[in-house]
């Protein structure tokens, strides 16, 4: 059973395979250089730039017009900033921002605590480790719509396993998804079920790539258990942990499929996360202009909050290089 399987060896040290690069040297490479360099960016540019133009041009058109897909001609009505004024006095929007914040903080918080604990427990000798690792991956790659469907089956008030179980042990069943006080907690549970494995897999790979010498030194000094974890393991793991948090937050903010499949944002607006709200405005009420406005506002907010962290954690800073 492979215990080192999860980490990909560094390509640079794995032995380099190089095809025969010999060709007669060319002369006058300078202008050709620039062209061939630009051509490297060409395939990506062909796809990305037109799409960005669509977002920009169509986006500006949509946010400044009160288009409703059901009313032909409504797209021609210029309304200036009215969509924005509407957004700032839209209680449902603020409600959905609140739902999203609770969802992200609660879900990512639980995923991190649980995921790190499981990764620490998995690190070291465990019978059947390779097999366990394969099983843990399954929730993470499972189609979210299927995961949500599966939990709806388990939570079904009449034929679901969970309610039968709760009845049997005497707690009493509950229509978890139909009750506004429990619905959000329930979709968070599904998010946690699905994405904790992501934390486990990456933190475990991080643990396995740590240099063992600080641990040996600390053990020689008599550090054990909690103290070893608190003062050696977690600090060494900090870079990996922060990237995992970042990636989970970026992903959780985008949540749509689980909520749309389980509750469609309901009951009422109790589980209406921001993506679900935009979908509801744009493709159920067909107010595509206002939907775009909400999308723009939320995206700007997300970028302002997350992007600086993303730059720092991915080790990307534009250094001011002179000369």
């Amino acid at each position: 059973m492979s215990t080192v399987g999860i980490t990909q060896g560094n390509a640079a040290t794995d032995g380099l395979k190089i095809g025969n690069p010999y060709r007669p040297p060319r002369s006058g490479r300078r202008p050709r250089d620039l062209v061939s360099r630009a051509s490297l960016a060409l395939p990506a540019t062909i796809i990305i730039v037109p799409l960005l133009l669509v977002i920009l041009v169509q986006g500006i058109q949509l946010v400044t017009h009160g288009e409703n897909l059901l009313r032909p001609g409504s797209g021609d009505r210029f309304i200036g900033l009215d969509n924005f004024f509407r957004a700032f006095s839209d209680p449902t929007l603020f409600g959905s921002i609140r739902v999203t914040l609770i969802y992200v903080f609660a879900a990512v918080g639980i995923e991190m605590v649980l995921g790190v604990a499981v990764a620490l427990a998995l690190h070291g000798r465990i019978p059947g480790k390779g097999f366990l690792r394969s099983l843990i991956i399954i929730p993470m790659v499972l189609t979210p719509v299927v995961a949500a469907l599966m939990w709806r089956l388990l939570l079904d008030p009449t034929s679901g396993f969970i309610n039968w179980f709760l009845d049997t042990v005497g707690v009493g069943g509950h229509a978890f998804l139909a009750d506004p006080t429990t619905a959000l907690g329930t979709v968070i549970l599904v998010e946690v079920w699905q994405n904790t494995p992501f934390v486990v897999i990456i933190v475990l790979a991080g643990l396995e790539s740590l240099d063992p010498s600080p641990f040996e030194a600390a053990q020689v000094d008599g550090a054990t258990g909690i103290r070893l974890l608190r003062y050696i393991t977690l600090p060494l793991l900090a870079p990996v942990l922060s990237i995992v948090v970042l990636l989970r937050v970026i992903d959780a903010v985008k949540t749509f499929a689980i909520i749309n499949t389980m509750t469609k944002g309901g009951p009422g607006t109790s589980t209406l996360a921001i993506s679900n709200y935009v979908y509801r405005i744009g493709f159920e009420a067909f107010e595509i202009g206002y939907a775009t406005t909400v999308g723009v506002l939320v995206s700007v907010a997300v970028l302002v909050i997350l992007f600086p962290a993303a730059i720092r954690l991915m080790g990307l800073r534009i250094r001011k290089v002179r000369g």
Binding site: Q8, A12, G19, L40, I46, I55, G124, S159, V244, A257
Partner: protein, 277 residues
């Protein structure tokens, strides 16, 4: 960890197995429900012993259109993943090998990619829908493939960059001096060393596309619906016909789960964009 007390070790093992059961038991319930008869699947008291039936699978595949959905999903996922790699690898090569990773131009490009990765899809959902609808790219898989290619490129650039950033630049320089152009150097000296990353990118892009729901829901309809959209449609159409619903779920999820287990080796590094080596 070597001289751990037996009680602690036992606790660890129990904890890990409990977590794995929490991951797996719901799936076992999903699969077993799909093999039950309609009546057993709907039973109030769980039916533990039953003769497996595959009728629900036939229903889901033929009447439910899962066969068609799998073809659509597979085509969209494979085409967008391949295009994503073809476009992403040269860009990652440009920003790590041709320009050093610290160069301002290179860092700016990667910041742009990171920005597009961070921004929620709700920003572009309506503009893409509006434009694609007016040029006839909705209701067929073409528009969705373009969007999934866009996301596959972002994924490919970040993953390839994490692999290439530590790759020695001298090798490319030697190849260039020997007269290979940039594309020649990329194909002959870089590509043979990043097959693992290429494979990982391919499968992660495949999973991403297969599971994607929001754009698929908006941009496809009828015969062009992907697997998640078809299953979600089942849910509102057949209500709680659990046997058929779960059969559709198993059919839709199985290909991707098998793929993922096969490439588990490359996953951690790909998933964290090089955050763990």
């Amino acid at each position: 960890m070597k001289n751990q007390r037996p009680a602690l070790h036992a606790l660890r093992v129990v904890g890990v197995y409990a977590f794995v059961l929490w991951c797996i038991l719901p799936l076992a319930w999903l699969v077993s429900t799909s093999l039950k008869s309609d009546v057993d699947a709907f039973s109030r008291v769980p039916v533990w012993f039953f003769v497996p039936e595959f009728g629900s699978y036939v229903d889901a595949w033929v009447d439910g259109g899962m066969g068609q959905a799998i073809i659509v999903s597979a085509s969209v996922a494979v085409v967008s993943s391949i295009l994503g790699i073809l476009a992403g690898l040269p860009l990652a090569y440009l920003t790590t090998q041709v320009w050093p990773a610290e160069a301002p131009g290179s860092a700016r490009l990667i910041l742009g990619v990171l920005l597009l990765t961070t921004v929620p899809p709700v920003l572009s959902l309506t503009p893409f829908y509006r434009t694609f609808f007016s040029v006839g790219l909705t209701g067929n898989p073409v528009g969705l493939t373009i969007i999934h290619t866009f996301y596959a490129i972002l994924l490919a650039v970040l993953i390839f960059r994490s692999f290439l950033v530590s790759f020695p630049r001298e090798i490319r320089e030697a190849a260039i001096i020997d007269g290979l152009g940039e594309w020649g150097a990329l194909l002959r000296t870089i590509l043979p060393n990043v097959w693992g990353a290429t494979f990982a990118t391919f499968v992660l892009a495949l999973i991403q596309s297969w599971n994607e729901f929001l754009y698929a829901l908006v941009l496809t309809s009828g015969d062009s619906q992907t697997v998640p959209v078809t299953i979600a449609g089942f849910l509102s159409f057949f209500g709680t016909n659990w046997a058929r619903l779960t059969a559709a779920g198993v059919i839709g999820a199985l290909p991707i789960v098998i793929f993922a287990i096969l490439v588990r080796k490359h996953m951690a590094r790909g998933l964290s964009f090089g955050g763990v080596k």
